[in-house]
């Protein structure tokens, strides 16, 4: 067997289009998933039992079911249930936003719980409300501690987006399948695509490690 990358390189722009779409899905899922994760974490920490129960159930359900099952559910089942038109992109963004929000919620919760109780009492003593204390005192400190876990989760999200290829969204994985069929060069196509993912994810994880070291130097503990 002989390696021949020419056929792949000729259609490299197809792969680049796929890469852009991969980043688009990841970015949109982060955009919705992070605020949703914060909302879920605050609800789960709430003293209002029903609210914390519901948030807890959502988090555990989306953490214990496979993302591919969730994607199929949102793509094939939801449109029938509520009679909406579902595109692969919408299904992907909805699935990965909710799925990652469940994981982000646990990171937020861990971060908030890691802050010393004295901080709450201090804020209360100078007359701050719950909301003010959360916004001005607790979250700024918690978020700093969460950064490494948050980055790790975002990298996991980027890897999970490959699943959208199964509902025919033109991400990098889908474009790879198309190109492999078109060129009859699966070895070269999938190897190059694996290399693209590797470079992208490796750079992100190195960045994450660098940030973690910096935080450690500034004397800030991190939560996992």
């Amino acid at each position: 067997m002989e390696w021949n990358f020419l056929a792949v390189l000729r259609d490299f722009d197809l792969l680049m289009l796929g890469l852009v779409n991969t980043l688009k899905v990841t970015g949109l899922a982060l955009l919705f998933g992070v605020p949703l994760g914060l909302a879920l974490a605050l609800s789960r920490l709430s003293t209002f039992r029903i609210l914390s129960g519901i948030a807890g159930f959502i988090v555990e359900f989306f953490r214990t079911t496979p993302p591919l099952v969730q994607l199929f559910w949102f793509f094939f089942a939801l449109p029938i249930l509520i009679d909406v038109r579902m595109t692969p992109l919408i299904a992907a963004v909805v699935t990965f936003s909710i799925q990652s929000s469940a994981f982000f919620a646990e990171i937020f919760r861990g971060g908030i719980l890691s802050i010393d109780k004295g901080q709450w009492e201090g804020a209360k003593a100078i007359g701050m409300t719950y909301g003010q204390c959360q916004r001005r005192i607790i979250l700024p400190q918690a978020i700093k501690r969460m950064i490494p876990a948050f980055m790790e989760r975002s990298i996991e999200l980027l890897k999970t987006t490959t699943l959208v290829s199964t509902v025919a969204y033109t991400d990098l994985m889908f474009q790879a399948n198309e190109l492999a069929q078109k060129t009859f060069r699966p070895l070269e196509v999938y190897t190059i695509v694996a290399a693209i993912y590797f470079v992208l994810i490796f750079l992100f994880s190195q960045l994450s490690i660098a940030i973690e070291h910096r935080l450690a130097k500034s004397g800030e503990g991190t939560v996992r």
């Binding site: 067997m1 555990e60 359900f61 953490r63 214990t64 079911t65 496979p66 993302p67 591919l68 099952v69 969730q70 199929f72 559910w73 094939f76 089942a77 029938i80 249930l81 509520i82 980027l158 890897k159 999970t160 490959t162 699943l163 290829s165 199964t166 994985m173 790879a176 399948n177 492999a180 699966p186 070895l187 196509v189 999938y190 190897t191 695509v193 694996a194 993912y197 590797f198 994810i201 490796f202 994880s205």
Partner: protein, 221 residues
């Protein structure tokens, strides 16, 4: 919202789904054993002071941790046979992808566990005349593995969820069979809900168990 939920069709098709569940359990057992077992070897190799041993282990870990597992499965299904001449069926491709991915992730868990052990333990082993391997096997690893048990359980949970990816290359497991039932009976809502519920019912107690385990280990340490 006027959907009539009809789980009777799912129950009628239970034998079809059962084939899938057996497929899921089978591939899970194989990949979790290979992944967590092989990861121990890679983790120990990664910890080694000899660069000839630690560098290949590190390269392996970086490659398999920094690429998506679906890419790995598909690579083993379509590209690996051309490269090596070894034919892979859906089962073998999925087992290779999921196991090697899990090996890389668990290797880092084991390594962190080994690193967390106090240096004095190594010195104590040496002082009573144990070799490196003896100290590692008898003193370091038993404590290290116990410490990382919650992290390993979490990896196991990930492996169980990952098994659904085997359906992408056509391995017969739960999700694959649910798709079949859905296509034949036009009931995607019930079919996919059933799969989600099955996974939730199996994994929810395991997740709760890891919380208990973590608390117990924290107390014991």
């Amino acid at each position: 919202m006027a959907h009539n939920w009809d789980f009777a069709t799912i129950l009628q098709n239970w034998p079809v789904l059962w084939v899938g569940i057996k497929g899921t359990v089978f591939i899970f057992v194989i990949t979790v054993i290979l992944g967590l077992g092989g990861g121990l070897i890679v983790g120990v190799a990664r910890y080694s002071k000899s660069p000839v041993v630690s560098w290949p282990a590190r390269a392996f870990v970086e490659v398999f941790r920094n690429t998506p597992v679906l890419v790995q499965i598909i690579w083993f299904y379509y590209a690996f046979p051309i490269l090596t001449g070894i034919e892979t069926d859906p089962f073998l491709a999925a087992v290779l992808g999921i196991s090697l991915n899990t090996m890389a992730f668990s290797a880092e868990i084991y390594r962190a566990g080994i690193q967390s052990i106090n240096r004095a333990q190594w010195e104590a082993g040496k002082a009573i005349g144990m070799s490196y391997n003896q100290t590692l096997r008898r003193i370091i690893l038993p404590v290290a593995v116990k410490r990382v048990l919650p992290a390993l359980t979490n990896r196991g949970i990930e492996v169980f969820k990952m098994s659904t990816l085997a359906s992408v290359v056509g391995y017969v497991e739960t999700l694959n069979q649910a798709k079949l039932i859905s296509d034949l009976n036009f009931n995607p809502i019930e079919s996919y809900t059933a799969v989600a519920v099955i996974f939730f019912v199996v994994l929810y107690p395991v997740v709760q168990g890891t919380y208990v385990l973590e608390r117990m280990l924290r107390k014991g340490d």
